[in-house]
Amino acid sequence: MKKLIFALFMASAAPLVAQTEVAGTAGGGDAAASSPATAEDDGGLTGSVSDEKAWQDLGIAIPGFSTDADRGTAASAGGTAALGKEVARVITADLRNNGLFLPVGPDALPQPTYPDITAPAWQTWAGRNADMLVQGYVNAAPNGTLTIGCYLYDVQLQSELVRGGWTLQPADWRRGAHKCADLVYSRLSGESPFFDSKIAYIAETGPKDNRTKQLAIMDSDGANHRFITTGQATALTPRYSPDYQSIVYLSYLNGNPRIYIYDIAAATQKLVTQSENPTFAPRWSPDGKSILYSMAVNGNTDIYRVSANGGPSTRLTDTPGIDVGGSYSPDGTKIVFESDRSGSQQVYVMNADGTNQRRISFFGGRAATPEWSPRGDQIAFTHMVGNFRIATMNPDGRGLTYLTNSWQDEAPTWAPNGRIVQFFRTERNSGKTSLWQLDLTGRNLRRLRTPVDASDPAWGPVLP
């Protein structure tokens, strides 16, 4: 524990070190080549995790989860015993890719028995230099539902730190693994959970001058990937609703750019607002009840708010020029947005009703795509001085911190716990795009594997 606290302190005290480190990693290009991913990896995240020892000192043993009786389950061809091992692999991948810990997965560890779960074989784990131990079980009920139990032990202290359990449909078994990883991560780091969440993004294929762009979704680790649209109409800039029921995004359906709300369960979509004019850059309010969007009228773009159920729109900005985007503070009282009213793209803050608009970015270059952290303490944005870099600042515009240094990194969005920033990177000339994640400290830059090229990533909240 003491080591971990030290590691966290180092992280917040050394942003400059982090910056240099990321610059080096970013220049290296292909993360897959330097990936530490092993057979344990299920093909989701890969990482170029830094070799700073302080970050990986906390050894966590995660042996295969046990079962009260090896029963068949729709979740795995091998029954609940095989599924238990798979659950432990998912937890291991989550914790490893986060970069905070040094997890060891089930393929390199002895398998505990079912009674061991609540009475760990301490000598076994102490002998393997494990600081922490994550054990659990996967039981199948006669009706098919799964119960996944998760226990975190401190091996040195020989004591239980926390436990949790979840009853799930077989198809949702990975959520049990993510919930367990969240439990361990939260208990050991003191941060809010984020693994049990999903990401919406745009999948890209085809040549640079004729890209096909499809709306797609996946779990936070890249699993359960699904294309939502066919790609016949160009899709851009998706955002998950806070309740995960729908996605708001831009589509060129019927030829013109308009924003739609796509209902995931019903697989239907509707226009957010009937308009003769192009609408784009949609964003949810934190309570999911309203949507911010931008609309161009006679070439002049302003920001509007409309109820998610439709109805009249309220215009929030009215300056000549381009006011675009917009992201609510987590309490819903303020909006950070982008405007070129001063002559170039800069970041502004206003009250949620549009009053008290004021510029906050004053550090040269252009500042765009601001996104308010779910914790409220930071704003992530794209800073352009020639190249595009991901950066953060305080809501008052102070404390500019660069997180990346590459040719073109764009459009940061936040993990639900506000500790990780996600963005997309465009490769010079080829135009190929990919999704990346990075700790707020500037460490642990890693590529999120996707089946094809990918852009415009947006994280949803942690599932209830």
Partner: protein, 166 residues
């Protein structure tokens, strides 16, 4: 109304003549006189998009500086030629596509592309083309024509393209 329209057309014609004096004449060679010959054998049907392209040549596209949407003298010459054609074929409609280079953020580029398309539209309207015959659409940075990541390619992608339908 009639008079101002006629004046605008005259001015447009005069401007386009002065701007294009070193180039080929605007009008095509006369159609073959035979009344039975199908139009196809004599090049694109007048008023069609193919005809617009053949008359306008490269002047169906205008180009912009980084982050700008103003009409410079070269743009004005091209738009005058477009306006002349559009007023000659009153049954046609035009769509102006606004585009940006890849060195801008996605949402901003959608707005900037719309602004560029509107600049072109407003200029055509000022020359007498009825506003209701012209629509605009922004593709932001989604539809580049030049594929390199260099100044030359970016300059070719910052553009407004006029497409006509009969």
């Amino acid at each position: 109304m009639n008079r101002s329209l006629a004046t605008a057309a005259l001015v447009a014609a005069a401007l386009s003549m002065s701007a294009c004096q070193s180039k080929a004449p605007e009008t095509l060679p006369p159609q073959p006189a035979s009344p039975t010959a199908p139009a196809q054998s004599a090049g694109p049907e007048p008023g069609s998009y193919a005809h617009f392209k053949s008359v306008l040549g490269e002047r169906d596209v205008i180009y912009f500086d980084t982050d700008r949407f103003n009409i410079d003298s070269q743009d004005a010459a091209a738009l005058q030629a477009q306006a002349q054609w559009l007023m000659q074929y009153a049954g046609t409609r035009a769509t102006i596509e606004g585009h940006c280079d890849e060195r801008g953020t996605r949402d901003y580029n959608l707005a900037l592309g719309e602004r560029r398309a509107n600049s072109a539209k407003n200029y055509l309207v000022s020359l007498g083309v009825p506003a209701e015959r012209i629509s605009t659409i922004s593709y932001g940075k989604e539809r580049p024509v030049a594929l390199g990541s260099n100044e030359g390619s970016w300059a070719r992608n910052r553009r407004a393209v006029t497409i006509t339908v009969n």
